[in-house]
Amino acid sequence: MAERAIVHSVLFVAAIVAAFGAFLGLFVGTANGSGLWGIVIGAAVTAVIAVVLVKAVPSSAASRRGARWGLAILFLIVGFLLGALPGAVIGFFAGLFFAWVTYWLATNRYRDSLPPYATSGQVLWHYTFRTICGVIFFFLIAPIVVVMPLSFNAEDFFTFTPEMLSFDPAGYSLKHYQDFFFNSQWQQALRNSVLIAPTATLLSVGFGTLAAIGLSQPHVPFRRAIMAILISPMIVPLIISAAGMFFFYSRVGLQGTYLGVVLAHAALGIPFVIITVTATLVGFDRSLTRAAANMGASPVRTFFKVQMPLILPGVISGGLFAFITSFDEVVVVLFVGSAGQKTLPWQMFIGLREQISPTILAVATILVAISICLLVTVELLRRRSERLRGLSPG
């Protein structure tokens, strides 16, 4: 990295760094007795550090890097004295951060992503806006992230215990996971979920792919009406679908059976398959099937050898959508199923409403891991599909 000259006044840099320092000081101070003093001391100390870093360190890349690591180690030691292991970890990263932010401000690097003519007000707005977005991203992700460490709680609480916060191994345990894997109710629920979701997915993918291929033919009578009917399970509120299915399935004797739940879930998954597969078929080059037919392939062979491989990414991601719909679904199964068809989300729902058991958090963590896998798969498939479509004209 080429070294840069210091262009800003020390006061400007020190003031902003002090603001960050005050923020950190609030937490350090609260942990050690007084938040107010923490703010004051934090601001003062970081301001002085900023002045020292800007004024006293020679302006070569190597010495700045040295200063940064030096500060990190200094904060690490102070942090360790104040708050043992967690303090040391926080201190280390805080040191790195303060050194970086000081030079980032002092050498004008913070304006790199903005046009050179931007006014100070615009720069301020730019970073304020990013902070707001950061807070919203935090809002989106925080609840999911908070659940994960809590699932390793050694106590039956839904909050962080002091032992957990001090990284004491005694504060953590796998007992909620153990409960999940050895409790017969949870295992029955897991078995039901694993039984119902794939079956429902197979049904919706099978029917859905055929129908999507039919719908993407050039001449389909009543195309809009058919599309509206097929999409409707996604639009109708779940509680209404559930109520209707409860009434109708109890009339025909499907209420409280596996078949009933599978059929209901398959119906709910169909719109997702239709949407993803028709989207893939939009880019499908029809001349490929004509070419295959020209060379003597039967329609069935053409379908499996030419069309299917090309639309496969769409089919798979539609299937994943259908799978997650069934796997996560709770309203319809509550009504259509009986105690014998209790699925994982149903068991979680009971857990949340009646006996609050932290095993839910362990299950939640496992489900988040599963959804991360599904998310990655769908993203990869989407990109592959886009690449494939890029190859074929149309």
Partner: protein, 562 residues
């Protein structure tokens, strides 16, 4: 046109253009098109049938249940038929109504269906449920005297076999009469009443003793097919001697003495006894049972709800009531649904608005950052989208509760006193926060896909023409992003008004939606008709919005996962 003439036409060069096989091209093309259409429909057909059966039929069933009201006429068919001739406002109904009511209620009480009817009518007039339950318990007392009187005449009247021979008669059996009674019981109980019962009423007996034949056949069907007893081993229930006395009083004496079937001597003796005893005053008997039967409104309510279909549930769902005097508002204490609909609408709007507020900046920054960074940040949006709804709801429960993460942090920082922890859950706040979080991806994704298509040069052009940042955004950028806001808002709003799980868990009593009420009626209060009516209203609202969504965005443009 035959081949010859076609060839000739071709040679002349003025005939229709022909396909390779000799048919006119137009016809050939039309056939190919038809084939294509049929093939497309054949591919779609399995799914269409599947969705029709598994999804649309249930919805239709729900619509049907919201107006269906067969329970009154199926449980009390005789009563509703005789009530037709009675004008409300004339005091109490005449004796035939009470008599029909006795036989209807007797059968219903034996089949234990009277409590269901009581609960149904209780939705319309409070007190009906306990009235019917009490009447069902006490109805055996009304015919007690007749049953005792007839056994006093001859102990054989207590024998099942004697009754069986009497009612079978000689001559032809009246099979149609038996089938009609089977239907009556099937409609009453909802069970099947097929199979041999070892008895069929004689046509002559049905003519002579119509009420008795009806009561006895009902009893026989019920005894054999529901209780599993044999007809000849059990004494018939009290309604049968009551009917017999009524029949014998009304029958022509000559016809009874001329009757030549089994037990005719006993019948004649019984006729004399019946004619010399006091007839039962059914009205007085019922009023003795429970003086509430003397309230005319009870009968007016039964009359009002004796139709097979009723708007009553829909009126209930909007806090109105169908009374004998027409439609009127419910008591102030019972008006809950309008408030609930308003709250559902208001909270859904609030959630939609919060989603716009939070989603707009995020979508903007995703659309304007370099692709690589945007894809990374997109994961933060997609992860909640893919995470189980219950995981997110439980996460919010963990965060918001009084001993939860947020309160603990605030107390630790000294911003909130330990004794005055914030109440953020089991109220509207909890529902709004959790649902905004859950629905935010549905706002961000459509906004993002619209904003991606807005060229940045427009805003730059506006600025170079002298617009301030604010003007450039408000006059140039924002109008182009409105389709995204529209699409996202309708999507979020549709999803929000039908939400059930999240309000149920974090909503407490003040933060619940209309869906929770529907679920309550279906699984707890068992007022299915009202649940169906509320569901139908909600469905109508959603379909209107769906139609609007189709106009704004188009169903075909629904995209998933960015």
């Amino acid at each position: 046109m035959n081949d010859q003439s076609m060839k000739a036409a071709m040679e002349r060069g003025d005939g229709p253009m022909l396909a390779a096989d000799g048919t006119p091209l137009k016809k050939s093309l039309a056939r190919a098109l038809r084939m294509q259409k049929i093939r497309a429909l054949l591919l779609v057909a399995p799914l269409l049938i599947f969705v029709l059966l598994t999804f649309l039929a249930p919805i239709a069933d729900m619509l049907f249940r919201s107006v269906e009201n067969q329970i009154v006429s199926e449980t009390l068919p005789g009563t509703t038929a005789t009530l037709d001739d009675w004008e409300a406002g004339e005091g109490l109904p005449p004796e035939p109504v009470w008599r029909a009511f006795y036989f209807d209620l007797f059968l219903a009480a034996e089949a234990k269906e009277h409590t269901r009817l009581g609960s149904r009518l209780n939705y319309e007039f409070t007190g009906m449920s306990s009235l019917f339950r009490g009447a069902g318990r006490g109805i055996d007392d009304i015919g007690e005297d007749q049953a005792a009187a007839i056994i006093e005449l001859d102990p054989r009247w207590e024998e099942g076999g004697f009754w069986h021979d009497l009612m079978s008669g000689t001559g032809d059996a009246d099979v149609r009469f038996l089938d009609a009674r089977r239907d009556r019981l099937e409609r009453l109980t909802g069970d099947r009443y097929d199979g041999d019962i070892g008895f069929s009423p004689g046509a002559a007996v049905v003519d002579l003793l119509p009420l008795t034949a009806r009561a006895y056949t009902d009893w026989a069907l019920y005894t054999v097919l529901a209780d599993g007893d044999a007809v000849i081993e059990v004494t018939p229930w009290e309604a049968v001697p009551v009917a017999l006395f009524l029949d014998l009083r009304a029958a022509d004496a000559a016809a009874v003495s001329g009757y030549d079937g089994p037990g005719r001597g006993d019948l004649f003796v019984a006729m004399l006894a019946a004619r010399s005893s006091d007839p039962i005053d059914f009205r007085q008997s019922f009023i003795d049972l429970d003086e509430d039967f003397a309230i005319p409104t009870i009968w007016e309510t039964i009359q009002t709800y004796s139709n097979r279909f009723t708007p009553g549930y829909f009126l209930n769902a909007v806090d109105l009531q169908l009374t004998p005097d027409g439609v009127s508002a419910r008591d102030a204490g019972q008006r809950i649904y309008i408030v609930l609909f308003q709250r559902t609408m208001f909270m859904s709007l609030l959630i939609t608005f919060s989603c716009i507020l939070l989603g707009y900046p995020v979508a903007w920054i995703l659309a304007n950052l370099p692709m690589r960074v945007a894809n990374m940040l997109m994961i933060l949006v997609l992860l909640p989208f893919w995470t189980s709804l219950l995981v997110r709801t439980s996460a919010w429960k963990v965060m918001l509760q009084q001993q939860g993460v947020i309160n603990d942090t605030l107390v630790w920082l000294g911003l909130v006193d330990d004794a005055a922890r914030l109440v953020m859950i089991n109220n509207q706040f909890g529902t709004i926060v959790a649902m905004t979080h859950i629905l935010l991806p549905f706002m961000i994704l459509p906004l993002y896909s619209v904003m991606q298509t807005i060229p940045p040069s427009y805003v730059r052009a506006a600025k170079s023409l002298g617009a301030t940042n604010m003007t450039a955004f408000w006059r140039v950028y924002f109008p182009q992003s409105v389709p995204g806001i529209g699409a996202g808002s309708i999507l979020v709003f549709i999803l929000a008004i039908g939400y059930y799980i999240t309000p149920e868990i974090v909503g407490g009593t003040k933060g619940v939606f209309i869906s929770n009420r529907i679920a309550y009626h279906i699984s707890a209060s068992l007022n299915w008709g009202l649940g169906a009516a509320l569901g139908t209203i909600l469905l109508a609202a959603v379909l209107i919005l769906y139609w609007a969504y189709d106009k704004v965005v188009g169903i075909d443009n629904v995209k998933l996962g960015g």
